[in-house]
Amino acid sequence: MADVVFSNVQKTFGTFTAVRDLDLTIRSGEFVSLLGPSGCGKTTTLRMLAGLEFPTGGTISIDGKVVNDTAPGKRDIAMVFQSYALYPHMTVAKNIAYPLKKRGVPAAERDQMVAKAAEMLQLTPLLNRKPGQLSGGQQQRVALGRALVRDPKVFLLDEPLSNLDAKLRGYMRAELVELHARLGRTMVYVTHDQLEAMTMSDRIAIMLNGDLQQFAPPQEVYRFPANRFVAGFIGTPSMNLIDGELTRAGSGWRFCAASLDVPVGPLNDMAQPGPACLGMRPESLSLGAGEQMAKVLLVEQTGHENIVTLQFAGQIRLTARTTAAQDLQMGADVAFAIDTSALHVFGPGETGPRLNRLLENKSSETDGQT
């Protein structure tokens, strides 16, 4: 059982900053995902925690102990690599036994532990094969087996499912969640797939260009994105983001863009009249009735629902979600209404901060739950 604390961690490669001022406290036993687009510093963060990369500033501690100068083998962590990194000349059994052997576990005990891990991951019939003779999913399980055979304090996983096909990925996702529940160990999971992060994590750390954007449970990240980037990154199809102007209206605020003019309710202290961004989830648009008109550009059928792309006021594109039953013709005009109780307002810029008041109330509420 161990918590992991990054405080003020910095990593630069030459003049390039890969991770900037990272403060992150991972609780003991928690499943945390590092999520973000390619090149945002997820792997670098994980590798610093593993001891494969050295921070150029700040401290990392595991279980209250600063590990900046501790060798990877002494940190009591286990890591699953994206490429699995199985030892190609060793059998599956030897691969799984290797970390035990290097820690001086006697052979008899080692065999027992390997057998137990193999059973848990259904690898028993494969123990005498070499990694080259295994499928991707099997290799992935061996890599997991090598990590969990020794019961480390922290598990680190770097996109372990990215090489698997969609079906196997879904299956392994469930397996990992179950494994986490059973072992109760701290797990840090790197992914660029928001579905993985949303479904598996206790909390998600979203990064962009080396900066932490938000660190919160999946529901909170979805419902109260901390800034414009998070809002656009989380959710499929992604949130509609419309640039426009914010104006004061009595005690509240209004947002205008082209012919759109909606009340956005009370905002926080950061709100200022001027350029801003309005965000609305596709599900907060309802088609068929309402005071606004838009043209249907595209209808994508996913089976149980349709994703509809609308063109509004000449240049604004919106995505809406409707039931598959609703019959819409491409090119036709359709009326729509906006659920004004579920609007998000962000400041200008790529990472414009959330301006709704709701954030503070709700985040303390969710914190209380966990």
Partner: protein
């Protein structure tokens, strides 16, 4: 070569094309390898005077005489001592140097080109330099060893018995270890870095990482290197001939030197051919062992 009868006309045309394309190679191969091979076997059945190439058929008598001669056995032993000694040094030195050069050193690219130097230098030049270094009157090696107090009296590196063989082995190792460095370095660069990182996390120190990851990954390339170098060292001629000429007496005379002596000093072409054929037979044994070994490995995979 049995081809299935089910071949379509197109496949047969492709097969024809293959035969036409490969024919020149086969012809050249026959001219430069198969012909000399059989002519050596043929010549070994005659007693021939080299300058006139006149001789008489003697059957297997050359072979009978050869196995009875102690000179043959001494030369064979010298060949084995030389081959095993120089090859071992080449491999140890080559792998060690490759590991050093594989580290991220700022002078790595410079060192890599420098390391090839002995391999580039023509054997004649290299041997001249070494003979000068080894010289017991004015050689720098003796001078250095005396000045640091290692020896009291100049050593005769090339003219006394075990010294000559040791010197030849050392020069051979110096001359050919760059080949090992280059081949091993090329392989080292293809070993995926995550393997080392995984081993680090699994608690393996630098020495464990070498034996558990680097060495097994190098095994295949080392087998090839050892085989190639063993063949080349086994038939090495110029380096030994120029350095010691086989002496003192015949203590560094290897089989190739014996063949040369028989053919061009004693003018016994038939006998020389017999030696050459025996040499070839010995190398054939190496090759068969190698082929069997690699085949077993492929199957057990």
């Amino acid at each position: 070569m049995s081809r299935p009868n089910t071949a379509t006309p197109l496949e047969r045309r492709y097969a024809m094309l293959g035969v036409i394309l490969i024919a020149p190679t086969i012809l050249v191969f026959c001219a430069v390898i198969v012909y000399p091979l059989f002519s050596a076997i043929y010549l070994s059945l005659f007693q021939i005077f080299t300058p006139t190439l006149q001789g008489s058929f003697v059957g297997l008598e050359n072979y009978q005489r050869l196995f009875q001669r102690s000179e043959f056995w001494i030369s064979l032993r010298n060949t084995l001592v030389w081959t095993i000694g120089t090859l071992t040094l080449q491999i140890l030195l080559g792998v060690a140097m490759a590991l050093v050069l594989h580290q991220n050193l700022w002078f790595r690219s410079l060192a890599r080109s420098l390391i090839l130097f002995p391999y580039f230098v023509s054997t004649v030049v290299a041997v001249l330099v070494w003979r000068w270094l080894f010289n017991d009157l004015y050689g720098i090696l003796n001078h250095l060893m005396i000045s640091v107090g290692l020896i009291d009296w100049p050593l005769d590196f090339l003219g006394s018995s075990p010294n000559a063989m040791i010197s030849v082995i050392l020069v051979g190792a110096w001359k050919y270890f760059p080949f090992v460095v280059i081949a091993v370095l090329a392989r080292l660069q293809t070993i995926p870095e995550p393997l080392y990182e995984a081993a680090k996390i699994d608690g393996a120190g630098p020495i464990a990482r070498f034996f558990d990851i680097t060495l097994p990954q190098l095994r295949e390339v080392l087998v090839v290197i050892i085989l190639l170098r063993a063949i080349w060292d086994f038939k090495e001629f110029d380096l030994i001939f120029l350095l010691t000429g086989g002496g003192p007496l015949i203590t560094t005379q290897t089989l190739p030197l014996l063949v040369y002596k028989e053919a061009f000093a004693l003018n016994q072409m038939g006998m020389a051919s017999a030696y050459a054929v025996v040499m070839m037979a010995i190398m054939l044994v190496f090759m068969v062992v190698y082929v069997l070994k690699t085949r077993n490995k492929d199957e057990s995979r």
